[in-house]
Amino acid sequence: MVEFFRGINIDWLGKKWYFLGFSLIFSVAGLLSIFFWHGVPKGVDFKGGTLVYVNFAQTPNEDHIRSAMDAAGLHDATIQRIASGPLSQASREEVISLPQRDTSEATGLDAGRATVLTALTSGYHDSDFAIQQVEVVGPQVGKQLTRQAELATLYSLLGMLVYLWFRFEFIYGVAAVVACFHDTLITVGAFSLTNQEITLTVIAAILTLIGYSMNDTIVVFDRIRENLRLMRREPLAVVVNHSINQTLSRTILTSGLTFLTVLSLYLFGGEVLHGFSFALVVGILIGTYSSIAVAAPMLVAYQDWQASRGKSANLPAGRKARA
């Protein structure tokens, strides 16, 4: 039979300082970028404004578009070529975006599409064009969505904490949630570092990642729980190492396969799904890593800490484990 991982015996816990360093570097880099560099780049969904996607009959000259916008008084318009996917043809599509205006009155919101259209019609004569897609988002919606996204992330972490508490022990839940938070932080950090905009679908991807990363963690935890009963005399570090090694082939295979499907999304899924698949590509790598390098070592660290305080040195094996 084909086997990639057999009889593996890696001392994962012995490398915990490397893991800690690795996680810290990426988290801190992300945080630095969030606070001091790009911030969290928000898409139109969250910051409001107008996006008009225009498809041109011939590859457009961006300077001409710019002068057409300037002539119409739209000096704050941003013009951006849509990056074509690695496997598709050169793009003839441009995004023209206007920032959120002070829309205290109802007229403000409608203005975007019409102004861009008239500006192009009167000022751009190189080739024909057609409006492909328009997104106009008012300021109120952005605030509401930001709140919803924050709440959704918070509640889904909470929901999992409660479920794991119920199925395992409180500390397992905490370790898993910390690992998920770590993944979320690094993924958002990656968006900040590469200055890609976070849209509503990216939030959906991040929430999926929380579920996915949780999957990996649970597989390892399940094994730890099982092994704690089988290997009563061994120290926890040995049990955890053994469990990670036993599940390693599954972890790598599943992550690899999921990664392949997500990669096919990234390559073939088209422009609209780029942010979404980017989040998943980053998140799957980090999520797999964190279940091995963050969640499991946390259990051991917790037990060491408890032991140093003179408390019971045995990690409960999960009272609700299967009979």
């Binding site: 919101l109 709440l151 392949l260 390559l267």
Partner: protein, 534 residues
């Protein structure tokens, strides 16, 4: 054992047939077109895939509350008059609180009588006496919520009615958000929503008021003519009574309309003697009778037709009018047509603001479908090929389970009429990746058990038993996050949550049950001691 197995296989095949029916229904033949058509009938595409317009509207519910309190101010005045209780003024003092009415200047010795009238007749308000013989009526929270909710549902009905008359197919009009009085409007196939937006937003509040004075050239002049202040039951309204849209004059009108909103039965665009577009309207029978009585007893006085708070027409009553009238006023043909459409469907209870507008052109939608399908097929093929390579015989098992998983997922969507969005396609692709996880978990466990020296049948048994717990835990947590996405998400994101959840549920069945049955069927045909291909 064998018969049991047969039963299980029959069940699986039955489920396969049911869900294939869910995807395609019964196609009109066996050609490729017939299948595509059947598929399109069952699986609804979201706006991002088929093209269309997505609008989020804010109903300005404060206006509806304000309309109710306006009305109640009149009632309070009438009730106090009837009880012969003197009152100074009744008004809403704070524009930010349209729900608070202040009654001032009642007689000090009649305080208990006033309180009696207010408390018995205005149960929807909390009545508090204040200093200097004032009373504050603030609307109860529940009553306000009811009015707001009513305004939203009525707006939805009105908007639906208007959009239906525009002939947009399969529109979605529903409440949106988390109690923020917002309305979602989705219009498939509409990619330039200018006209729709005009028609949705037009409040179309048509009223006929008695004129107490005017026209004046400005508000100052109107005030001077009325000794510096307007009576509480009179309001100043701008407009042009000569039937032209431009030009600004001010009229003093009775605050309470003679006919309003729901009294109108029909409105049609027409042309006047000079061939200019105008609008003819009809009143309901009861309103027509009331209008007849009013006009009959007020011949020679002025009345004004007010549309969206502007005087469009002011004329002297020449004779008693029963149930029809006409608005002239410098309309273009289109304006007359749009306006009569909105008048026919009735007024909105409050004005509407557009918070969000997204439009996807049909070609972009088609391109997205293409990209999504290519990515999905590529993903499936890669995963299936890998499973075959890595697990050999058992790989066939996993691939069958994976295929059935997809069929059930799509069938589910067909049965429940849920909408497939672009993130939804991504959800399908992700389901493939995560769906195979269950198989990997089980197979790896079986391999481990085999390495421990167990017989194939025992190894399969143990493998499933151990992996099952893990599979339950992983699925539940992912479904938790999908459910939260569904609760908090909107539009396309919801579509994603739905496909992900269906996919995971289907996966529980295929990866565990179906896969097990295939193993059992396989083992039953094997000789004792023969190795398992895994």
């Amino acid at each position: 054992m064998r018969t049991n197995l047969k039963g299980k296989l029959t069940l699986i095949i039955a489920i396969l047939v049911v869900f294939v029916y869910g995807i395609f229904g019964v196609p009109n033949g066996v050609s490729k077109d017939a299948f595509t058509q059947a598929l399109a009938n069952r699986i609804h595409l979201g706006l991002d895939l088929r093209g269309g317009t997505h609008l989020v509207l804010q109903v300005m519910v404060d206006e509806a509350v304000s309309a109710v309190t306006d009305n109640d101010i009149q009632r309070v005045q009438a009730d106090l008059d009837k009880a012969q209780l003197a009152v100074g003024s009744i008004a809403k003092l704070d524009p930010a609180h349209p729900d608070v009415i202040t009654v001032a200047g009642t007689a000090p010795d009649k305080a208990s009588d006033v309180r009696g009238v207010l408390e018995t007749n205005y149960g929807n308000y909390v009545v508090t006496p204040g200093a200097d013989n004032t009373w504050t009526l603030s609307m109860k929270h529940q009553a306000m919520l009811d009015i707001q909710h009513h305004a939203v549902t009525q707006s939805i009905e009105t908007i639906r009615d208007r959009i239906d008359r525009l002939g947009v197919a399969e529109p979605i009009i529903q409440e949106y958000g988390l109690g923020e009085n917002q309305v979602l409007v989705e219009l498939p196939g509409v990619d330039d929503p200018a006209r729709v937006k005009d028609i949705i937003q037009s409040t179309a509040r048509l009223e006929i008021h008695a004129v107490t004075g005017g026209p004046y050239t400005s508000e100052q002049e109107a005030l001077q003519a009325n000794n510096g202040m307007t009576a509480p039951d009179v309001e100043l309204v701008h407009g042009n009574g000569g039937g032209r849209a431009d030009g600004d004059q001010v009229y003093a009108l009775k605050r309470v309309a003679i006919v309003a909103g729901n009294d109108f039965r029909d409105a049609q665009p027409s042309t006047d003697e000079n061939g200019r577009p105008d609008i003819t309207f009809n009143l309901t029978t009861s309103a027509g009778n009331a209008f007849y009585n009013y006009t009959n007893s007020n011949i020679g006085k002025m009345m004004a037709i007010v549309l969206d708070n502007r005087v469009r027409e002011a004329a002297t009553i020449q004779s008693a009018i029963r149930d029809s009238g006409r608005i002239t006023g410098g309309f273009t043909q289109d304006q007359a047509a749009n306006l009569s459409l909105t008048l026919r469907t009735g007024a909105l209870p409050a004005s509407i603001r557009i918070l969000e507008e997204r439009t996807v052109g049909p070609s972009l939608g088609a391109a997205s479908v293409h990209h999504g399908v290519v990515a999905a097929i590529f993903g499936i093929l890669v995963v299936m090929a890998f499973m075959l390579f890595y697990y050999r015989g058992a790989g066939i098992n996993a691939d069958l389970a994976l295929f059935l998983n997809l069929v059930i997922l799509l069938g589910f969507m067909g049965f429940t009429g849920s909408t497939l969005t672009l993130p939804g396609i991504a959800g399908v692709i992700l389901t493939i990746g995560m769906g195979v996880d269950s198989n990997v978990l089980i197979f790896e466990r079986i391999r481990e058990e085999l390495h421990l020296g167990k017989a194939p049948a025992a190894a399969v048994d143990q493998g499933f038993a151990h992996a099952w717990i893990t599979i339950i835990d992983t699925h539940v947590t992912t479904i938790v996050s999908a459910a939260i996405l569904f609760l908090f998400g909107t539009g396309p994101v919801r579509g994603f949550a739905v496909t992900l959840t269906f996919g995971l549920l289907a996966n529980l069945f295929t990866a565990v049950y179906v896969s097990r049955v295939i193993f059992d069927a396989h083992l039953a045909r094997k000789q004792r001691g023969e190795a398992l291909s895994i």
